[in-house]
Symmetry: D2
Subunit: 338 residues, 4 copies
C-alpha cells in the first residue's frame, strides 16, 4: 500500500516499512463502513501455519490498563502466543475471542478434549465516537473474513479495526512500520503494527515538531477514552523475558508522538518472535533492537495518521484526515529534520 | 442450602458460612445438565444495585496464569469492579463478556456513547472432561438467567459454572464459606466463593489429613488442565492495594487442600470490598482478615467437594461425589482435629 | 540556584521550577570532588519531620531494572515511604542504607526493638566513568552531611550524587523542575528531581530538536551503563495505586529527551504525595497530573544538563558541560518552539 | 549434619536432604552468639566458581513485601544471578551488600571500570527479638567468613543468619531439604534453604497436624514482624521465566506449616538453576518440579525448627527449641502419616 508520510527517526526501514518485513507476518482486515457503523477487525498472522501447533515466544506490557485486551494472563505466564492476534472494537472482544476459539478447534479437533484449550489474544480500542458501538455490528464471520484477507501488502489507516478510530482528534486507525537493527554481523528486523486511537490534538508531535498546537481542533468531542494497541514482531531469536523488555520500549515511540498515556487510554504492547530455534541473543546486545522498536512504533503511528482518510460516523461525528488539515506537512515537518 | 461437610480451621463462620454473609452479596446460577452438556454460568452480585454506577474497590492476584479470565487488566489498573463477576467454562468467556456488556448498556444507555465503556469480569475453568466444550452450549441468555437467579441462599456443588468441574479427580464445582475477623472492637467478615476444578486425587488434604492417598482413583483421565477461580468479598473498608494483599492469602487456603498450583491450572483470585466510604483499615491490622481469607478459601473448596453430587458427562466420563467415595469421612477427618 | 536553560513543554512551572515547589520538600547534597573521586550523596526530604513517624503514600515503577535501588519491595507492598530518599553511586548503596537505618534509630530508639524496622530507600547510578568507584569513597557521614544540607534552594548539575554522572556523553547529574496541574478549581504541583546518567549523544533531543546528532562526540567511552532515577513529588492527595500511575508517566519525559531505556540503564521512578488527609482525586481527573509529571521530568533532565559544569575525573576522563559544547543553544533550540 | 526431624511429604529426598544435593551448591555460616548479640550471616554458593563470570539463570517471587531484600530489581529484569546469595539480619543488609561488591571487585578488578557493576543479592529477616539489632554487630568480615566456610555438609538451626531467628514463637533459623523430581527418563533435584523467622505458635502445623494449638506459648513477645526467605536451587535446565514459576510454588510449602503470609512478614523466594546449557524443559513437564519445590520448602521449615537449639538473647528473651517443647513429637506427628 502506498501513501506519502513523514519519515521519523534515523534507522533503515525494511523493504515494505511494515510489520510484514518480519518473517512471514501477514495482516488482514474486515472493514464495516456503512453510515453509523464504522468499525472492523484486523488480524495479524505471525506465520502462515497453525499457531496452536507451532506457537511463538511472546510477552506483553501494559502501560496503562484502561483496556479490555483478552489473553494476556496466559500469554505472560507461559510466554507463548498460540493464536493470531486480533484487533477490534471494545464491545466486539468477546465475539472475536469466541470466533478464534472456534477457528482453532476446527483446525485442531482435540482442543478442549484431549488437548489443552486455546488462548485467543484480542486487543481493542473504543471507536464509539464514530461508530455506533451499541449496534454490536461485528460478528464472528468478520474474524474469518479478516483472517482470510491476510497478506503482506495490507491496507493502513481507516481500515479493519482502525475504521472508526480517532488519533489526536484526527482520523487514526491502523499503521505499521519496520526498522532494521544491525550490530556486528547480525541483522534483525523489528516490525510494528498499531491500532491508534489516542491523544489530544494539541499534543500531536511528528518528528519532534509540536505540530498539533498549530492546528485548529475540529468541533465535537475531545473524548480521551482512547487507547493504543501495539503489536511488535521481530525475527531476532528472543525469549519471552527479552520480548517483554522489547515491548516496554514501545513506550518511547508512543511518547514521542505526544502521548502521556492518558488515564482513559488502554496502552498495551504485545511482542512476539518469529525466529526458529532457541533464543540466543545476549541481553547486552539488545539495544539496537530496542531502538528499532521505539522508532518503528513512532513511525507506525505517523503512518496510521497519514494513511487515514476522513471518516463520517454516527450522529454527524467526523474525524478529518491529517493530510486534509495539514496539506503543507512536507514543509512544516521535514524542515526541522535535516 | 444444607449439606454436611467437614469443618476446617478455627475461626468463626458467618451465619450462612458463605459469601452471602458479606454485605448484600448474592449468587445465581444457570445450570446446563443434559447428557454431554454439563456446564453453566454463575454470577456473583456484589450488591443489589448497578455496579457500573456504584463500583467497588477490587484487585486480583494471578498465582498461575494458565487461564483466560477477562477483565483483570483494567481491574488492576483502576482498582475498581464495575460489573458483577461471572464464572463459566473456558469456551464461553467471550459470550458471557458480551452478555455483560449488553446488560450494562441496557441499564446505562450512555455506555460507549457519552459514558466510558464497561469492563466485564469473567472467570473460567475448563470443564471439558465432563462437558462437550465444542458444543458451545452456553449462550448470552444464560448470563441473564444466572443474574436473575441471584440470592443469598444459593446452591453449591455441581451447579452453575461448577456443573462440569472436577476437583482432585472427584466432582468439584461451586463452594463458598465465610469467616469472621475480629480484633479490638472491629468485626469484619470475609467471604469466599470458589469455582474448584483442580488437583490430583493423591494430593487431596482435608483439615490436614492427607485423605486423597487412601482413595482409589476412578478410571479415566487424570487431566490436570484444571483451575481454581476464587472470589473474595469483605465488608472491611479496604482499598485496592489492600485487597490485592488479601487476595494473595487465598494461596494458603488453596495449598492446604493439596494443590501445588499445577502448570495447567489457572489459579486466580479476585477480591472486592462492599464497604461504603473511604478505606480506613491500617495495614498493621490486616492479619485477622488475612487469616479469615485463607480459611474461608480452604473451607470453600471443601464445601465444593461435599456439596457436589456425582455427574456423568460426555463419552462415559464420570466424576464421583466425594461423599460416595468417602462415606466414613466423619471418622477419618474429624479424628485429627480435636 | 540560577542557571539558563531551554524551557520545554507548555505548562506553567512553580515559582522555583523545582521539586521544592511541592509542600515542604527540600534537597541536600554532599559532594566529593577530588581528583579521581567525583561522586556524592543527594537526599530528598519529603517533609521537615520524621518520615518514620509520619510516612507518606508512595509507589515506584521500574522501566528497566538494570539497577540496584534498594527499598522498592516494601515501598510497593505497603505503599508507604518511611525515610527520605537518598541517591548515590552504585557501590555506595549499602553504606547509605546503613546510615539511613542508623539515623532513623537515633530518632526512634524503639526501631528494631518494640517498633518495626525501617525501610531505607536508596537510588543509584553508576558514575564509574569519572569516579573511581573502587575507592568506595562515600561514607555514612556523607549521608548526614547531605541530610543536614537540605534546603529549598538546592544546587543542580554536577553536585551531590550527580557529581560524577554522565548524560548523553555530556556532563549530567542532578536536575529538578516543577509543573502546575490545574483543572476546574483545583491546582496541584508536580515536582521532579532526576539523577541523570543515561543516553548516547546522537539521541539527545531537547524540546523536540534532535540536537545531539549535530554535536561531535568527545573522545573516550560511550559506555551505556547509565541509568536515571526519578523522584516525583506532588501535593495532590493520591493513594499509592495512583502514585504508581503517576510514576509511569515519567517514561514519557525520559523518552522525549532521546532515551529508549537502554539495556544497561536502570531506569526507575519513585513518586510520593505530601498531602495530608485521605486520597480524594478521582482517577478520571488525573490527566493534568500525568501531563505535569511527564513535562517536569523532561525539564528536569534538561536542567541537569544545563546546570552542569565540565568535570574531569579518573584516568583523564572528561565530561564536558553542554553549555560549552552548544554555546548557541538559544538560537538552535528555541527557534523551533515558537 | 545430623538431627532427628519429622519427615513431611511423599517424594524422595536427595542423599543429603539439603540444598547441597543440587549440583555443587554449598553453604557457609558466620555465627555471632555472645550475650545480646545473636545473629550472623549465611552464604549460599550456587557453584564453586565466580558467579560474576559464570552467572546462572534466576528469578524471584515476593509473596509479601514487608522486607528489605536487595538485588531483586536487577535479578528479575535480567533473569540472572551474578553473586552468591547472602542472608543476614535486617540492619546488616547494607554492610553485607558492600562486602559482596568488594569481594566481586577483588576477583574481577574491571568491575565498575571497563566491566559492568555487580548486583549483590542479600535476603534478610528481623532477629530483633533475641538479637540487639542496634549494636550493628555484623561486619563485612563476617561475609568473608561465611563465604569461606561454605561446604556441602553445613549446619542448620540456630546458626549463621538463623542464629537469632524465631519461628512460630519457637527457635527458628536455617533449614534445608531436597526432593527428587522424576518423570519419564529425567531425574532432577530441587533443593531449598530457608531462613525461617515467621509464624505464631497456634498456627504451627507439621505434616498436616495442627500441633501448635496444643503447645503452651512461652511468655514474652508474640511479635509477628517475622519473615521467611527461601532459596531454591535445581539442576533442571530452566530459564528465568520458569524459575519464577518454580519459586511461586514455595507458597504452598510455607502455607502448609501454618503461615498465612502475615502483614509484617517479608516472604520472598529466589530460585536459580545450576544446569549448564540452554533451557530445555517444556512447561508442560514442570509439575514434578513444582511438587518437589513445595515439599522441599515445607521440609526445610521443619528442619529449621528441629535442628535449632534453645537460644537466650537480649533482655532475657528466650526462644525454646521445639524438641524441648515437644519431646514426644514422634508419636504425635508420625501417627497421622501412615
Amino acid at each position: 500500500m502506498k501513501f506519502d508520510s513523514p519519515r521519523v527517526g534515523v534507522l533503515d526501514a525494511g523493504s515494505r516499512d511494515s510489520i510484514a518485513d518480519v518473517g512471514e507476518v501477514t495482516v488482514g482486515h474486515a472493514t464495516l463502513a456503512d453510515d453509523t457503523i464504522q468499525t472492523g477487525v484486523t488480524v495479524i498472522r505471525p506465520h502462515a501455519g497453525d499457531l496452536y501447533r507451532h506457537p511463538l515466544p511472546a510477552a506483553s506490557v501494559v502501560f496503562n490498563g484502561f483496556g479490555k485486551t483478552v489473553g494476556l494472563v496466559q500469554l505472560d505466564e507461559l510466554g507463548v502466543l498460540e493464536t493470531p492476534i486480533a484487533l477490534t472494537n471494545t464491545f466486539a472482544v468477546g465475539t472475536i475471542a469466541t470466533a478464534m476459539i472456534r477457528t482453532a478447534v476446527k483446525a485442531n479437533p482435540g482442543i478442549g478434549r484431549m488437548l489443552p484449550t486455546v488462548n485467543p489474544v484480542v486487543g481493542e480500542c473504543n471507536d464509539g465516537f464514530l461508530n455506533d458501538l451499541q449496534a454490536f455490528a461485528v460478528s464472528e464471520a468478520h474474524y474469518t473474513q479478516a483472517y482470510d484477507d491476510a497478506r503482506a501488502d495490507f491496507g493502513q489507516g481507516a481500515v479493519g479495526a482502525g475504521r472508526g478510530m480517532s488519533c489526536f482528534e484526527l482520523k487514526g486507525g491502523i499503521g505499521s512500520a519496520s526498522r532494521v537493527a544491525s550490530r556486528g554481523g547480525s541483522r534483525y528486523v523489528v516490525g510494528a503494527l498499531v491500532l491508534a486511537n489516542f491523544g489530544r490534538l494539541p499534543q500531536l508531535t511528528i518528528g519532534g515538531v509540536a505540530i498539533g498546537r498549530t492546528l485548529v481542533p475540529a468541533c465535537g468531542s475531545t473524548s480521551e477514552s482512547g487507547s493504543i494497541i501495539v503489536v511488535l514482531a521481530t525475527d531476532a531469536p528472543l525469549d519471552a523475558r527479552q520480548l517483554r523488555r522489547l515491548a516496554l520500549r514501545c513506550a518511547a515511540g508512543i511518547a514521542r508522538t505526544g502521548s502521556n498515556f492518558a488515564h482513559g487510554s488502554g496502552d498495551i504492547a504485545i511482542a512476539f518472535s518469529t525466529a526458529q530455534g532457541l533464543p540466543d541473543v545476549p541481553d547486552a546486545l539488545l539495544d539496537p533492537l530496542f531502538d528499532a522498536a521505539a522508532e518503528a512504533v513512532e513511525q507506525s503511528i505517523v503512518h496510521a495518521l497519514f494513511a487515514a482518510q476522513t471518516v463520517h460516523g454516527r450522529d454527524g461525528h467526523v474525524r478529518p484526515a491529517i493530510r486534509e488539515r495539514l496539506p503543507d506537512w512536507r514543509e512544516r515537518i521535514s524542515a526541522t529534520r535535516s
